[in-house]
Amino acid sequence: MPPPLLVRVDLGSPIPAYRQIVDQIRTLILEKELVPEAALPSVRRLAIDLGIHFNTVAEAYRTLAEEGWIHVSRGRAATVAKRDLPSRPDPDALTDLRERLRHLISEMRATGLSPARIARELRALTEGLK
């Protein structure tokens, strides 16, 4: 039996808890750990298990639904949506992502990682998302 998929939240992080949940579930979907139609725990269950407010988890699910990653309907379990990736990325989104990546790479450099190592890390992560 495969180990259960986990969501981790760091309440001490400057990134809001709902955003951490969104990022992790999105990654799990892109890495195909969560397949289309797979059910997600209810807002109540995930909030109790994480020990955070219902609204935080509800906000995360709402954001994922708005981005088209999951289906949410009242009284039914949230499920992973079948979502095709756009064939051409939106140029505005690309600019924004490039900016965020630039900051992240600066942060990696600041920890002492060499540019070659950073490139290797990014390549490995990108391979995992194919």
Partner: protein, 318 residues
């Protein structure tokens, strides 16, 4: 004679309560001492031992005082002195715990802000599934049917019906607690399954005891059977279940507790408006406690306290 028996009963009750109080700081989870998160191995340090020693001295002092008041209440037949003995035992021990906690707080270590939860969505069930839960109620129903078929043999219906009603009420209470843990506590709680198993075992025990107790008056038992065999057997079974549970939870003490220290009011009451859990694992001893910031906990507590009173009132009325 009644006064001596009464005094003895009160003294033993206070003594048992105090022994339990003196013992609880030792029955804690790893990394927790007096409900405070402490560094690994701190509980074995000289400072920790000194705090525990002075805590136990205070508990002893409260116990002696409460015992003296309990004896005086029996001697002078004074309900107020009896009340005072209970107040001294409960409030004194709580205060001793609070003082111990205050002394430990400067040694507190920062808690990890990380939380994790499984994305698994399997169905949540009580141990053994619904058939296992229905069984104890069917047992009571069977006892009721058997009684109705032999109703002409029942000399006094009040205790017989009382046994069945008490059994059903206790079963409902245990079932409610089980469902509370199942749906209102964290799935990651290490002792969750042990607690649920205990509740389901108690469900069977109370049903069996109530059913047998209701049917027993229909028969004349042989003289060699002790009159209190059933309650003692029930108590022995309950004690065995608890002993098993305590042994099992001891193995799980290493698991990290994610509840914030500052939310443990007086070190014993959990109040966290940010935590949607209805029940959380206790930081010492065994079992769960309510999250008093959850309004449902007040409702459940009200029902738990009021329902038995109404039931007792009804039984006494009829």
């Amino acid at each position: 004679m009644t006064n001596v028996a009464g005094a003895l009963f009160r003294c033993i009750t206070i003594l048992l309560f105090s022994v339990f109080q003196a013992y609880i700081p030792g029955r804690r989870r790893t990394g927790i001492f007096f409900s405070v998160t402490v560094p690994e191995g701190f509980a074995d340090s000289p400072q920790a031992r000194a705090v525990l020693k002075s805590y136990r001295k205070r508990v002893l002092l409260c116990t002696v005082l409460a015992e003296l008041l309990a004896i005086a209440s029996a001697r002078f037949d004074s309900p107020w002195t009896l009340l005072a003995s209970v107040v001294v035992a409960v409030a004194g021990n709580s205060l001793a715990y609070l003082l111990g906690r205050k002394t430990i707080q400067p040694y507190a270590s920062p808690q990890s802000p990380e939380r994790s939860a499984s994305l698994a969505t399997g169905p949540e069930r009580l141990p053994g599934g619904w058939l296992n839960i229905l069984g104890p109620f069917l047992l009571l129903a069977a006892a009721g049917i058997y009684l109705s078929k032999h109703w002409d043999l029942v000399r006094d219906p009040v205790p017989v019906l009382g046994d069945l009603v008490r059994g059903a009420a206790l079963d409902l209470l245990l079932l409610a607690l089980g469902l509370g843990i199942l749906y209102g506590s964290r799935r990651t709680s290490p002792a969750r399954r042990v607690n649920l198993l205990v509740l389901v075992s108690f469900l069977w025990t109370t049903s069996a005891a109530s059913g047998v107790s209701a049917i027993l008056p229909l028969y004349t038992l042989p003289e060699q059977v002790p009159p209190r065999l059933l309650p003692f057997t029930t108590l022995a079974v309950a004690a065995a279940i608890l002993a098993w549970a305590i042994r099992e939870t001891r193995r799980l003490r290493g698991a990290r507790d994610v509840t914030p220290d500052e939310c443990w009011k007086l070190g014993q009451f959990y109040y966290n408006p940010q935590d949607p859990a209805l029940l959380v694992e206790r930081r010492f001893g065994f079992g769960y406690t309510f999250n008093f910031a959850n309004r449902w906990s007040w409702l459940v507590l009200f029902v738990l306290l009021i329902a038995p009173m109404i039931l007792l009132g009804l039984i006494n009325l009829y």
